[in-house]
């Protein structure tokens, strides 16, 4: 516990150092000694600092005039439309499987009538947004990591800069905005499609009418179920975009670096999805929206 607290304090110091222009040399020395004592490598915290700075640059660039709207629309197409089929099929199967597997337990407790409500709350609050985000982390995060990494290695990003185009604005801002906007859209589609899967699952062993199923689904869902779930998908989208772009944009030289960028983009983005999910659940719980 003491070790965890110390790591947390070091984390705060690290964030402070990155956002400060004050000479904190003494504090850095103290930090280095603490790290030595705790045998912790500072690479992880440096990475967090770098991603934070990268995100700060994104916000600076996004408010500057002259956005690359054409490229943004192009990225929305790639992120949204090109992932729609994968998300749709996965969501349908998820709804179907969840309903089929939940049914025996509910039957055992004589609560079979609660099946549509239980499936709806589970899917809309948690399963659809998280699974959609994980699919996007895998497909879009790795795609961005590999694409931008390859552009970095083959000097295409430098060529863009030489031609007077701001590569950060053209490549990063457009992609991060596209994921931030399209992941919630995909999650909403996943919600709808998974509920259709749920309807099919409910009728494989039982007999639930179309109107009764949807009445129970909408009756069970409240503002506190839908809105926080939708809001967190914006954060998921932002995290997937920023991590994929960061990993690709700062890819090390060589094809090995491109592969590593793609892989770590998926790992870090997936991890962030769970961390954001955990935080959102805590916040909604505190706000009494659960």
């Amino acid at each position: 516990m003491v070790r965890l607290k110390l790591i947390f304090i070091i984390f705060l110091i690290d964030i402070g150092l990155y956002y400060s222009y004050v000479n904190w040399s003494n504090l850095s020395k103290i930090k280095a000694k603490v790290f030595k004592i705790l045998n912790i490598k500072s690479d992880f915290l440096n990475e967090i600092g770098d991603i934070s700075r990268f995100s700060a640059r994104f916000f600076r660039e996004v408010i500057k005039p002259k956005q690359e709207w054409e490229e943004f629309i192009n990225q929305c197409f790639w992120v949204g439309y090109k992932t729609l089929t994968l998300v749709g099929i996965t969501a349908f199967i998820m709804g179907l499987v969840l309903t089929i597997q939940s049914r025996p337990t509910l039957v055992e407790f004589g609560a079979e009538a609660m099946l549509p409500a239980m499936v709806a709350v589970s899917l809309v609050r948690e399963i659809s947004p998280v699974i959609t985000a994980l699919i996007c982390a895998g497909k879009i995060g790795s795609g961005m990591g590999a694409e931008l990494g390859s552009m970095r290695v083959t000097e295409q990003i430098d060529a863009m800069e030489v031609s007077g185009t701001n590569p950060f604005k053209y490549l990063i801002v457009t992609r991060v905005l596209a994921t931030t906007i399209m992941v919630p859209v995909l999650a909403s589609v996943a919600n709808a499609v998974s509920l259709y899967g749920g309807y099919l699952g409910a009728n494989l062993r039982g007999d639930v009418s179309w109107s009764l199923y949807w009445f129970q689904v909408f009756d069970s869902l409240s503002f506190g179920d839908v809105v926080p779930s939708l809001i967190k998908t914006f954060f998921f989208g932002f995290a997937i975009g920023i991590v994929g772009c960061y990993k690709g944009f700062y890819s090390k030289k060589g094809t090995e670096g491109v592969g590593r960028s793609a892989t770590t983009a998926v790992i870090v983005a997936s991890l962030l999805v769970f961390i954001i999910d955990l935080l959102v659940v805590q916040v909604t719980d505190i706000l009494g929206l659960t």
Partner: protein
């Protein structure tokens, strides 16, 4: 611009990557209309030097003036305007592989030409640049469909589209067969004549250097070790210079 006016001035430039001191008080002047070749061993800092000239890499100290402007004193917009006057041919060509040849050539114009100008004149400018490199028929092809030599020519056409006053070539003939290498070298000479551009060329290829160089600089241990014409340096007795010509 009159002959013998320095268009690029590099003064006491230092650049290190960690403990590796790549450039040490490097200085040089390049005059208008000159074809200057910088020769040095692999890893001697030649590419770093030309990337510093266009500010893709920041120097640690020293000053670089291009077309009368100190690049360190320029803001982002001013630097981008200056970059329109500087062409850069990358060693890897750096063609955007998700775009067609036409889109590759259109890309630099979108920043420096107004939308009206692009609509009126871009097609003609693209075609002219492609004709200059003899590849007008590839306009709708993707870079992946082109050979190495063709990609190099397209990259040169993209460099020329903004009619730069200074062109920086990073190992333009590396990875090409001797015949294609000679063709690219001849193309560089033709381009220099047509556009009256000043060229700074990084190269190891002695055939290419012999064809294009008005003057050469030997970059050894991060310093401007020697300069002169190809024949002057070829005849030098200094062992460090001689080993390049052996």
């Amino acid at each position: 611009m009159e002959k013998r006016t320095p268009v690029v001035t590099v003064e006491n430039v230092n650049k290190s990557f960690g403990d590796n001191h790549v450039l040490r008080d490097f200085s040089m002047k390049v005059e208008a209309g000159e074809n200057l070749v910088i020769l040095g061993k692999s890893g001697s800092g030649k590419s770093v030097l030309i990337k510093c000239i266009i500010k893709l890499i920041e120097t640690d100290s020293g000053s670089i003036t291009v077309l009368g402007k100190d690049i360190d004193a320029l803001g982002e917009d001013e630097l981008n305007r200056l970059r329109a006057d500087i062409g850069f041919l990358f060693q890897s060509n750096a063609l955007y592989d998700s775009m067609t040849v036409k889109e590759n050539l259109l890309f630099p114009l979108r920043r420096h030409w107004s939308k009206e100008d692009r609509e009126k004149m871009a097609d003609a400018a693209i075609l002219e640049a492609l004709e200059d490199v003899g590849l007008a028929h590839t306009i709708n092809m993707m870079p992946a469909e082109l050979s190495g030599g063709m990609r190099k020519r397209i990259a040169l056409a993209r460099t020329l589209i903004l009619r730069p006053k200074v062109i920086l070539y990073d190992e333009p003939t590396t990875g090409l067969d001797p015949i294609t290498g000679r063709e690219i070298s001849q193309l560089m000479i033709d381009v220099q004549k047509k556009y009256n551009a000043t060229s700074i060329v990084i190269s190891h290829d002695l055939n290419c250097i012999k064809m294009i160089a008005n003057r050469m600089i030997m970059l050894i241990n991060g310093k401007n070790y020697a300069s002169g014409t190809f024949h002057e340096l070829e005849a030098a007795t200094d062992s460090k210079i001689k080993e390049f010509f052996e």
